[in-house]
Structure formats: C-alpha cells, structure tokens
Symmetry: C2
Subunit: 339 residues, 2 copies
C-alpha cells in the first residue's frame, strides 16, 4: 500500500515523500522547536513529532535529535529543511501567480475578436474594464470567427467577440448578443448601382463579389444571403481583412457586403448602399459554458455584457429583432455562481 515508484531519479522519490512535510520542515527550521512549530502550523504537537520522525525515516537519518529539553536539527535535517524552505517559496510564488491569474482584480483574460472589432469596440471595452480593475491583464487575439470559436472551445481563449454568435445548439459554448451592425453593399462610385437608395439581395446575382475567406462571419452571412435570394455568389476575390476588401472594391474589382466604414468613405470613390430589406449582423460575446470560469473572466464577461452598449456608440442597439436570448437557460450570466 505504500506506493512510491515515481520518476527515474531516486532522489525525486524521496522528494515526493518529503513533500507533505514542507510546511512542517519550514516551521521547524524557523522555530527550532517542536511545540512552537506546531502552534505556528496550527496542528497539535504530537503530529509534528510523528511526522518529523517519519520524514527522518524516509531520509534515512533522523532530522532532529533531542537537545536538552528541546530538539535541534541534524546536519541532514538542516539540508532538507533548507531545501523545504526554498521549495515552499517556489511553490508560494506559483500560488501567487495562479491567484493573480484568476483574481478579478488582477487576473488575465484572453480575449479573441474579429479584426474589425479591434478598431474601437475592443479598445473601449479594455479601457473601461481597466478603469475598474487597473491591474487586470489582457491577452488579445484576433482572427476569423470560426477560428476564434474553435480556439475558445479548445480553451486557448477565455472570451470571444464574434458575429454572428454561435447557434445555441452547441452546449459547450454560451453566448449573448451585444450589438448590431448594419451591413451595406460597398461598391465603386462608378458602379451602375452606386446611385441607388437600396439594393435587394437578388440584384447582386450577376455581380463579381469580393468577400472574406471561408470561416469569417461576413462570408457566412454573404453566402446565406445569396442562398436565400436563390443564386450562387460569383466570388472574384477573397481576403482576410475588411480593409483589404474595401481596397479591392475601391479598385473596381467587385462589390462587397461590409459594415459601414467608420469614417464615411470618399463618395467620389466608394458608395455604401443599404440592403432592402436591411441586413444586420449581430455581434455576440461567447464563453465556455461547460467549465467554471475564473473570477477574472467572469467579471470581465459581466462587465462587457453590462457596459458594452455605452462603450460602443457606433454600434446599433440590439433592437427588437434578433431572437430571444441566445444564452442557455442554465448558464445565464448571473446564476451560475451557485454551489
């Protein structure tokens, strides 16, 4: 019943058996006194006596010897007690790191988001959150929607901002909508449709389209829109950045379905025409539903859910449209902290 195979190094084995006594050894080292060490640790004195003897047994020689009516450490005892103190320091540093990692005040949040959101939404959110928690740390990762969701599920990311949010079917991911963004047909000023007030989806059937690559939310929306209108889109170019797409459109290489350009574009070069009926994409915040989030991540999530309307003025409020809450019932933001 006394398992002790561990690693190749025999000293690692005794180290593993010494490990439970780390605090005890450190206390003995500090006090040179069994009773004192016991009350320092908050354990009864006989426990210290026994475990000291047991530790000495595993080392192969007593760690303390009677000295008067007290005890003193043997040389071997000094060596292991010193090592224990060092090991405890190392471990405490690790505990501190871990604590800071999860503490809402100082914890880290790995936030993934779409390239386009890095312009204003994410900076606002980060700045707002750090006003409340100045020591909070962020790791920011940008990428395509599907990549973000995949890395979120894989645990690499804590929170992601994507559009559209994942369907509620997946029990591993939870999501909540944050804001809407109107998508408009972006086309060269010279294009025949450039003067229109609105454009219907079907009117894009014959156009060369410039889109993001598969995996991006905008691409998915574009594809679905075309499918709903009953035609297969003719993709002229694919890119990874909306700015690239916009550049291609400006160069006259096609038309694109994009969010409105934030400083409105030069009307002499590019026109942005709303769709009819209008098309929106919903930006949602996602997190892993299955596991318990760290306090830091939870605090950040709740902050984003509560404050994003105020912090992202250039986005539209959710409005009446977009569906009932996408948040699975059992995992609503406020009620998972039970137990």
């Amino acid at each position: 019943m006394t398992y002790e195979s561990d690693s190749a190094d025999p000293h690692e084995r005794v180290a593993a058996r010494l490990a439970p006594g780390l605090a005890l050894l450190a206390a003995i080292r500090e006090t040179q006194h069994v009773t004192r060490a016991a009350e320092l640790l908050g354990v009864p004195q006989p426990t210290v006596s026994r475990r000291l003897a047991a530790l000495g047994e595993t080392v192969g020689t007593p760690l303390v010897v009677p000295d008067g009516r007290g005890v003193r450490l043997t040389r071997a005892g000094h060596l292991v007690a010193d090592a224990a103190a060092r090991a405890l320091t190392v471990l405490a540093a690790g505990a501190r790191e871990a604590h800071e990692e999860i503490d809402p005040e100082s914890g880290r949040v790995v936030l993934g988001f779409l390239h386009l959101l890095g312009r204003s939404l994410v900076p606002s959110l980060v700045r707002g959150y750090r006003e409340r928690n100045p020591r909070a740390r962020f790791t920011l990762v940008q990428g395509a929607r599907d990549e973000m969701l995949h890395r979120l599920a894989a645990g690499e990311l804590d929170l992601v901002l994507v559009a559209p949010p994942p369907p509620p079917g997946d029990p591993a991911l939870a999501a909540a909508p944050l804001a809407r963004q109107e998508l408009v047909v972006t086309l060269p000023a010279s294009h025949p449709l450039a003067g229109r007030a609105t454009i219907a989806a079907a009117e894009l059937a014959g156009e060369d389209l410039v889109t993001l690559e598969r995996g991006y939310g905008l691409r998915q929306i574009t594809d679905e829109l075309c499918a709903a209108a009953g035609f297969r889109p003719r993709i002229a170019f694919e890119g990874q950045e909306t700015e690239t797409i916009r550049g291609l459109v400006t160069a006259g290489l096609g038309v694109a379905l994009l969010p409105r350009s934030s400083p409105p574009p030069d009307p002499a070069l590019v026109a942005e025409i709303p769709m009819s009926p209008p098309v929106f994409r919903t930006i949602g915040l996602c997190w892993r539903a299955a596991e318990r989030l760290t306090p830091a991540v939870r605090a950040c999530r709740d902050f984003i859910l509560a404050e994003s309307p105020d912090l992202a003025p250039e986005f539209l409020p959710l409005g009446p449209r977009p569906s009932p809450a996408l948040v699975p019932d059992g995992m609503a933001p406020d009620e998972e902290d039970e137990k």
Copy 2:
C-alpha cells in the same frame, strides 16, 4: 479540524496545502493525462482525480478541465504545475544533499581534534579513510579538549580525538582509547635538571611551569600530576599551542610537561626528560552515544578504531595499562546497529 494558519503570507498557506500534491502535479504536467499520471505515480486513478479536484479547490479554480475524453491543464493549472515541478526539483536537490551527507561513501564527517594531532595522526587517518571512500568529505576543527568535547555534545562535531578521553560517567558521550603518548619534562638545556635521566613529579614543585590554558588536556594532566605530588604548580605562562609552549621553554622562561617533540629537539637548546614513574596521556576517540550516528560517521569511527594503530606509528600502542574499555557496554562500536 482543518487547520491552516501558517505564515503571514496567504500564498504560503495555499503553498503548504498544495505541497502534498507536488508529485501529482508534476506527473500531470508531464503526462497531461490522469490515468497515465496515476500509473506513473503508482497510485490508483481515482486518487489522482480526487486530489486534483481538491488541489483545484484550494487554489480557487479547477486546475484541469475535461477536454475531449481527456483533460487539459487550465492556465492556473499550468502555473501551479510548473511551480510544483520547480519545487520538486529543489526538494530533490535537498534530498540528494542530505543523502550524500549521510552516505558512508560520500558523507561528511566533522572531525574535531587537538592542535597537536593535526601534525600526523589526523592527516594519516583522513588519507587512509579517503583511500577507501574517495568521495568522503571531512570538515576539520581544531581546539582545546574541553571545547572539542563541548562542541561534540552540542552536535557541532561528529567525532573528536582528544586526550585524555572523557570519563565514562557521562552517558551522552562514548569514547574508545586509541593510543598512548609519553609526556616528558621539557626544559632548557641550561636548566639544572637537564642532565637527569628521569625526573619525579615532586621535583617540579619549585619550578616555573609553562602550560596550556585551562581546558586543554595537557593542562589538566599537569594540574593533576602536581596535585598528586602534593604541591600547587607555579604557572609562569599559559599558551594555546604546544609549539608556543616549547618556544617559551627554549627561551628559558620555565619548564613544561609535553609530548616528545617529533623531530627530536636540538640537545643544545632543549632537553626532554622522562618522568619517573613515566607519564602517559591516552588519546581517545569520542562520539555521541545518545543518538544514532549517520552511516558516514559510523563508518569513519569504525575505520579509525580499527586502523589507527597502523596509521599512527609514532604513537605508543595502548599497552596493558590504561583501564578497561571506556566504551559503555550498550554502545560498543559493533552492536548499536540493532533495531
């Protein structure tokens, strides 16, 4: 019942509670796999599951989360597991040091001895022992007899060579005689007694004596010799080194009771006259009887007891005289390894 007051630093507290899981965390870190870690540690798999959960509880967040049909470490888990691996390395290094300290092949022996014995006896013993155990390490400490015995009892020294050995009355110290050394009256060549064949103790009554300070064995023997002869010695000078004493004698400042000079002195300067009856001092090896000696110390002690006659040719064999064994019965060199 769940004690956990420890040190001021709260992180030290969680470190102490993390300590028993060091090996487990290291194994998880290495394998990223509960079952694999369990068989690496040689413990059943449920134990690993439970203790991982418990460790996560103390840290405040799970250290592993389900990932497919396996698990993966959370960020906090990585931090504490890394720290655990480092701590285990530190602890293993300490265990190695302690092992080397007590191992007969590489262990350390702190050997105390009288200044005079550093000339040939101790170097011979050390050299001889290291021929058998090349990695053995010695720390050599020189000093007066009483100081040596006191520091031996205090645990600072492992073995001491002193003359005379301590009386068998003290149960804390054990001793065994090693060799005898004749003490002779050392006096200036110009002294009236310089031509004598032998000198009786009583004849020193009127002389200026040069001795070592109190606490040295030679001083004690000198004092007792004078007391036995019925006079109080007239101490002209006290020193700490026999060579100093010899110098004072050469300078004509008194006579002294000293071991024979090892290269015989210049007869034109100093005479060495045996006492009548002859006086010897017994050099003994002492160790602590109460505690269990480390294998290294025990091996060295047994080596010295067995080999010193051959290694110290300039000393006299024990001869018939010096008392029955001074070794307490229960602690004879060979039979304490019971239990």
